[in-house]
Symmetry: C2
Subunit: 371 residues, 2 copies
C-alpha cells in the first residue's frame, strides 16, 4: 500500500504579523525550537509516509521558501498554484497526480501550519485513519477532542460507530457545523460527541476523485485538461492555464459536508491551528508569571503576555497584563491579547495608510525565523 501526504502550504497567515509577512507566511516560521511549522509537519509524518511520497501544494510565490526549507521533497512533487483557490482545488489537483500513478494510493491531506504537541499520538491516530481509508470507500477526517468552548473552529458531530482499527474508533459523521457562537460551543462541550474539525483528511485517491466528481463536477471539468497533460511537458503550462478559473471553495464545504461516506476518528494529540499570537500560550509552556517570552526581554510586573524581541534588541515591559508585543526588524506590534484575533484587519489597514512596505519582509530579514 502506498501512502502519500499532500501538505497544503499556500496559506497567507497575516495573523502573525510582524513575524509573518505576505512573502513569509506562518508555515515558514518557527515557533518552538529551530524547525519551521512546515518542517515539523513533514517530520511528524515519519514512519507513515516515506520522504519520496511527500507532496506539497503551495503558491508560486512561496516556491523558493519551500525548496529552501524542505530540499528533501522532490521538486516535481512541489505543486505550484498560480493563485490560491482554497482547499478543494488544491486537494483535487494533488489527487489527480497521485491517482495518475496509483489510483489506490492512500492520500493524507493536511495543512502545513498547524502545531501538534504529542507527535507519537498523532502518528498512532493517523495510522488508524490510513488503515480505515485503505480498507473502504471512506472520506476520513480527524476530529480533535475539544478542550475549551472555542468559537474559531468548525465542529464535527459523531454518529454511529463504524469500524475500530486498534485503539481508535471511527464514527460516521452525523454533521459538520459552522463556527458556533460561544453559548453553542459551550453546549457542544457539555453534551459531548462534538469534535473540532482539524482539516486533516485521509482517503484513497480514487475515493476523493469520485466524491469530487459527484459534488463539485465543475471543478473536475475545469481540471480535465490537466489530467490529460499529466506526465507530459505541457503539464506545468496547463496547470497555470486552468487553475485560476477553478471555483474557489473549501473541501469541507464542497465535499465533506455533502458526502455520505464521511467518517471521523476522534483524536487527542495536542493540536492547535495557531490561529493567533494568543494561541502560543496554549502550546508553549509559560513562565511563572504566565508569560511566553522569546529573545532578549526584561518583563517587570508583567503577566499573561506574549513577548518576543529580535536579535540584539531589548524589550522591556513594565506593569502590563495580557498584551502581545512582537518586535521585528522594521516593525513592532503592541496589542491587547484579547484582540489579536482581529489582527488581520489591522494589518490590512497598513496598505491604505501608505505603509505597504511593512507587509513584506524588509530586505535584510532572513526567512524562517519568528524571533
Amino acid at each position: 500500500m502506498r501512502v502519500a501526504a499532500v501538505i497544503m502550504a499556500g496559506g497567507r497567515g497575516e495573523r502573525f504579523w510582524p513575524s509573518s509577512r505576505e512573502d513569509l507566511p506562518k508555515q515558514f516560521l518557527s515557533f518552538q525550537g529551530d524547525q519551521t511549522l512546515l518542517q515539523r509537519t513533514i517530520r511528524r509524518l515519519e514512519g507513515i509516509v516515506a520522504p519520496e511520497d511527500i507532496w506539497i501544494v503551495t503558491r508560486e510565490d512561496y516556491a523558493s521558501l519551500v525548496f529552501e526549507q524542505v530540499p528533501e521533497v522532490p521538486v516535481r512533487q512541489v505543486l505550484l498554484e498560480p493563485q490560491g483557490r482554497d482547499t478543494a482545488p488544491c486537494g483535487a489537483l494533488a489527487a489527480l497526480y497521485l491517482h495518475h500513478t496509483d489510483p489506490d494510493t492512500v492520500m493524507v491531506l493536511l495543512p502545513a501550519d498547524h502545531l501538534v504537541l504529542q507527535e507519537d499520538q498523532f502518528r498512532a491516530t493517523l495510522s488508524a485513519a490510513v488503515a480505515v481509508a485503505a480498507g473502504g470507500d471512506h472520506l476520513v477526517t480527524l476530529g480533535i477532542q475539544p478542550t475549551r468552548p472555542e468559537t474559531g473552529y468548525g465542529y464535527i458531530r459523531v454518529g454511529e460507530s463504524c469500524v475500530s482499527p486498534g485503539d481508535h474508533a471511527a464514527y460516521r459523521v452525523a454533521a459538520f457545523t459552522e463556527k458556533p457562537p460561544r453559548e453553542r460551543a459551550m453546549a457542544y462541550l457539555q453534551e459531548g460527541g462534538y469534535y473540532w474539525n482539524s482539516g486533516i483528511f485521509v482517503w484513497r485517491a480514487s475515493t476523493i476523485l469520485g466524491a469530487l466528481w459527484q459534488h463539485l463536477p465543475a471543478l473536475m471539468e475545469g481540471l480535465s485538461p490537466l489530467k490529460a497533460a499529466l506526465g507530459t511537458e505541457a503539464e506545468g503550462e496547463v496547470l497555470r492555464t486552468v487553475y485560476p478559473s477553478l471555483p474557489k471553495i473549501s473541501i469541507d464545504y464542497g465535499v465533506m459536508e455533502r458526502a455520505e461516506n464521511t467518517l471521523v476518528i476522534p483524536a487527542d494529540f495536542g493540536w492547535d491551528d495557531l490561529g493567533t499570537w494568543a494561541a502560543l500560550e496554549r502550546v508553549i509552556p509559560a513562565d511563572g508569571e504566565g508569560n511566553i517570552i522569546s529573545g532578549r526581554v526584561v518583563a517587570v510586573e508583567t503577566r499573561g503576555s506574549v513577548l518576543q524581541s529580535m536579535k540584539d534588541r531589548l524589550l522591556v515591559t513594565f506593569g502590563l497584563s495580557d498584551v502581545v508585543v512582537v518586535d521585528s526588524e522594521d516593525a513592532i506590534l503592541v496589542a491587547d491579547k484579547a484582540r489579536v484575533s482581529d489582527l488581520k484587519a489591522v494589518v490590512g489597514r497598513l496598505e491604505a495608510e501608505g505603509l505597504k512596505q511593512h507587509l513584506r519582509r524588509p530586505l535584510s530579514l532572513p526567512s524562517g525565523s519568528a524571533d
Copy 2:
C-alpha cells in the same frame, strides 16, 4: 546691572529611557520641535540674560554634548563637575565665578531639563524676580501655581506680601514642604497659598555666598582653594581636586529651607519638570483619542497613550489604553502609563541582568533626538 544665568545641566534623567541614556540625559533631548531642552532653556532667557552671560554647570561626561548643542556659550563658562554633588555645590561653584568678576551680579540659577509653555510669561516673571533680587538681600524663588494635587513636587507656602514689582507680587516664604502624600497635596490645592517649588532661583552672587557661608560652611570651606585659584592656570585642576569631597546636598535643603531672607514670586507659565514619559501629555497636545504620537505609528483602538517610534520603524498598537511605548535603535519600552514614575528602578535592573550596554547609547545613535 549684570544678570547672569547658571544652567544646571548635569542631571542623569534615567526616567526617559530608552530615549535618554547614561550618556545622553533628558536635557540633551528634544521633545517638541527640533530644539533640545537645554537649547530651549537658553533661548527662553533671551532679552533677560545676554548670551555672553550664560554659564552652564554640567558633568565632565556631558561636556561634548554641551559644546555641540550650545556652541554660543563661551567654553570657559561651561563649568565641569568631576561628579554630581547635587545643587548646592553646583550653585556655590557658579556663584564664586560670578562673584569673582562682580559681587553684585544677579544670578539666575535654573535647571536645563524643564519645559515652559508660555515663554513670554516666563520672561515677565523672571524679570520681576531679577528686579527683586537686585534690590535687596533676598533669595528669590519662583513658585508655580499648582494645577493638580501633584505628589512628585515640593511645595512652598507663601507668607506675608513683601514687594510688588510690576504685576508680580513677592511674598516671604512661610515654609518649604517635602513632596506631600496625595491627601495633603489635595488640601494644599483647596487651601490655596501653596506653590510648586520650581527649582528656579534668583539672587545676587554676594547674597547666595553669604547664605552658603551661613548655612553650609563646610561646603564653602571645601571650595576655598578654588576661590584662591580663580583666574589662574590652576583653576581647573583645583576644581577637580576639591569638588568630589564637597558635601552632596541640594540648595533647597541646604540653604532655602534654613534661610530667613527667602522670597517667592508666584508664577504661571505652563511649567513642567518633565519627570516621566507620562508628563508629555501635559505639555504636548494629544490627538482625538488622547494619544501623544511621534514617528511612524498606527494606533488602532488605542487611547490615552504615549507612542513613539523611531526612524523608518513602524509601531502598530491595537486595543490598548494608557500605555507608553517608546522605540529606540537597540531597545523598546512598553509600560503602563501609571507606572512610568518608577521607570528608574526598572532601568536600574538592566545592569544586574547583564544588559548594561542598553544603558548607554548604541554606537550609531545620534545625539539630541528623542524620536
